[in-house]
Amino acid sequence: MGNTVVNASFPQSAGQSARQAGEGQSHLSQAERAYRAAAAVVDPEIPAVTIADLGILRGVEMEGDVAVARVTPTYTGCPAVLAIELAVETALREAGFEPRIERVISPAWTTDWITAEGREKLRAYGIAPPANASNSIRALFGETEVACPRCGSLETARISEFGSTACKALYRCQTCHEPFDYFKCI
């Protein structure tokens, strides 16, 4: 079978094919089966989204009988990294693969890799998804427009640059007065 690679470069299509997978997986390649098993792992801190939704799973590759999953951290010091790697390893093992995890940091993860589906799931979960494109030039005190995930109001104010996890900031809606997390754009 050689080195079959399933890349996460087109997470949209991966999401679609996962939805069509209802009729059974016997026709799928080993790499595709392994990818789906790994892709279903949810983020331990935001269980509403999978690691494929977040773009953390960069791909799964078969090296002989070993399924090599490439995983990238959102932040260098993200404490969830180990938990995610362990969960991927377990998922692959349960799907009948001998797993190996490779941590890749280059190219650096960006919120642009969160899929459209992932963004919608975040919003439904009460976390404002990152503003669409991460800008490379970040002006000091630059303000981003963040919509309240509950009422959609744009009248929101940042409470703190850092929220409950490294990847989130804390906001408050001025319209419905609810505080909420904003998934920071990096």
Partner: protein
């Protein structure tokens, strides 16, 4: 990318340890605020920044352990080296002082590291280029967060202004050391691996200047800059920090969770 000779391997290790020590020591200092910050939001912010710094330190220690080839892993480098073997800059180890002092120190360090990481993103060493690309995004947040506090306190109440001005005075002797150049930094710059810190001063000034202007703060020139951190000569504060940081591994060598 494997360094060609043992000399360059030693030089690269020296550079990596300086960077890693800066980040671990400052990260540890920030973590000391956990549970003691003036408000809940800051109690979240400072450990979050500490996590970034310690995460960056881990990547650098892991690489240093591989490059130096003496079989030391990240834990041994962090927990089993003595005070005189630590080569962090003196600013990083300074005691936290009050909140204004901590935030100004964070702002200075971030304003130094951002152009550093930015330059390192095009390093001839792919591993370092990868670490830099990640860290550069993280440090941009630190600049913004700490910079906002410098403005808010500097241009705040009478007391906050007094405290921020005191922090500017207290930290002034520690700024120049960041930009020191020696045989290690020059060799790394020549090989295109890392920027020579002496070339980053104008980028630092371009970040600090506008924030100081908005905060109504004035730069304080100091005739006697402190130096020695890169040679392992530290102030009193580092020993106490390491005693706490290294306690577990010193007491139970090789212990794992």
């Amino acid at each position: 990318m494997a360094p060609a000779s043992s000399l360059s391997r030693e030089t690269l290790t020296a550079l990596l340890l300086r960077l890693a020590d800066d980040h671990l020591v400052l990260g540890h200092r920030l973590s000391e605020w956990c549970g003691h910050a003036p408000m809940l939001e800051e109690d979240l912010a400072m450990p979050n920044m500490a996590l970034d710094l310690i995460g960056q330190a881990r990547s650098l220690y892991q690489y240093a352990g591989e490059v130096d080839g003496k079989g030391r892993d990240e834990d041994q480098l962090a927990y089993m080296r003595r005070e005189r073997e630590y080569v962090n800059c003196l600013m990083a180890e300074r005691q936290n002082g009050d909140f204004a002092h901590t935030m100004l120190r964070q702002f200075y360090f971030a304003a130094f590291m951002q152009p550093f990481w930015q330059a390192m993103m095009t390093s001839t060493d792919e591993r370092l280029a990868g670490i830099a690309a990640k860290a550069e995004k993280e440090v941009a947040y630190h600049i913004r967060h700490a910079g906002e506090w410098v403005v808010r306190l500097g241009d705040g109440t009478e007391e906050s202004t007094r405290r921020m001005k005191a922090a500017v005075e207290a930290l002034a002797p520690y700024v120049d050391e960041l930009f020191e150049s020696d045989e290690v930094t020059r060799a790394m710059a020549e090989a295109g691996i890392a920027p020579d810190p002496s070339t980053l001063r104008s980028a630092f000034d371009a970040i600090v200047g506008p924030v100081f202007a908005e905060a109504g703060l004035e730069w304080v020139e100091t005739p006697y800059g402190q130096t020695g951190g890169r040679q392992g000569r530290h102030g009193e504060a580092l020993g106490f920090l390491l005693a706490e940081l290294q306690y577990m591994q010193r007491t139970y060598p090789g212990m794992t969770w």
